[in-house]
Symmetry: C2
Subunit: 208 residues, 2 copies
């Protein structure tokens, strides 16, 4: 597995936190964390000091990037490991929804293939404060992107306007998340995003 798929860490993080950064240094630190984890260091045993040493930077450099310390650094690593967020291009709502769901599918596949990513994710989930931070940054941003697409679809008359936007979003993401997060033994075949989006758009009633 490539530990840094695309430019997720470099591209996504600044937009989210809104301050400039030296991408090379951030990347070195993130790769330092991954190297330690791959060599068998547990997440609990990771220290800013150890990471700084492996990355060839000073402790102060790490703290300058992530003033919140280890937890904030771990979130940046999870962020970097995940696929870069999907960017709906504003074509048809159907295509934008497929783009978003296809991104969930790719993240799901990446998690199945990467022991480190799985370990990191379950660490985040089992630490309520860290999970809250992850939710408030990463998950919230994803949901807002989705809701933006749905609102545009309602305004353009492509989607029904009588459903709550939150529920409308869950009708699309729910089936995909059920597979990627809850039923880890199940396939994530090519075309799954399209199948879900088209089925939810058109309904599953016979002869509809």
């Amino acid at each position: 597995m490539n530990p840094m798929p695309s430019d997720a860490g470099a591209d996504a993080a600044p937009a989210r936190r809104g301050r400039p950064r030296s991408e090379a240094v951030e990347r070195a630190i993130i790769e330092g964390v991954l190297r330690l984890l791959e060599e068998g260091t547990s997440i609990d045993a990771l220290s800013i000091e150890g990471v700084a040493r492996v990355a060839g930077v000073g402790k102060a450099t790490v703290y300058r990037r992530w003033p919140g310390g280890k937890d904030e650094m771990l979130l940046a690593v999870v962020d970097a490991l995940e696929e870069p967020p999907a960017e709906p291009v504003g074509a048809s709502v159907r295509d934008d929804l497929v783009t978003l769901l296809e991104w969930y599918r790719r993240v799901g596949m990446a998690k199945r293939q990467s022991a480190v990513l799985r370990t990191m994710t379950s660490h985040v989930k089992s630490h309520p404060e860290l999970w809250q931070q992850y939710h408030d940054t990463v998950i919230k941003a994803r949901r807002e992107t989705l809701h933006g697409v749905l609102r545009r679809g309602i305004e353009a008359g492509e989607l029904r306007g009588d459903l709550d936007v939150g529920l409308l979003g869950e009708l699309f993401t729910g089936p995909m998340l059920t597979r990627t997060v809850l039923h880890e033994g199940k396939d994530l075949p090519d075309g799954l995003a399209e199948q879900i989006v088209d089925s939810v758009l058109d309904g599953v009633r016979a002869g509809g």
Copy 2:
């Protein structure tokens, strides 16, 4: 909260495991486990011996009911704490799907209200063997009930026959599970099951 809603433990367990049981003894043991947990005993510290003592039965009686020991007993407790499984009555497929989803909603609400049930569930989830057992008994049975309803709907010409039954099921359960399991901060309002079922049946395209 009533620790034994309806007759879940007594009704559901024998059907699932196929051997007769003394319901009163089983109930006493399950209530013993709940009493210990409510008094602050951790799940790790629970012992068959301690449970037998509180329930007023012998250790051998506990093992006769659950030869797999503590893990099997814990699954019976989770089972008893959850709502009794929904029984689709074989009316319209739409109504049967609402019945099934309404059950997921009720279980989700019960988990939010019961610290013991939440603790038990996360214990099961964090122990792979126990989770596998839970999956092979409880979850598999639920999925088969759902798939039975869907197959009946396809045969009766009420549901499209071109979708994989697994995916078809996830279109209905996914949105509900996303709320109950993944987004614990979100509402589970009355009528949610109906809204999901009707939206997935009819689609969310405007003017559809």
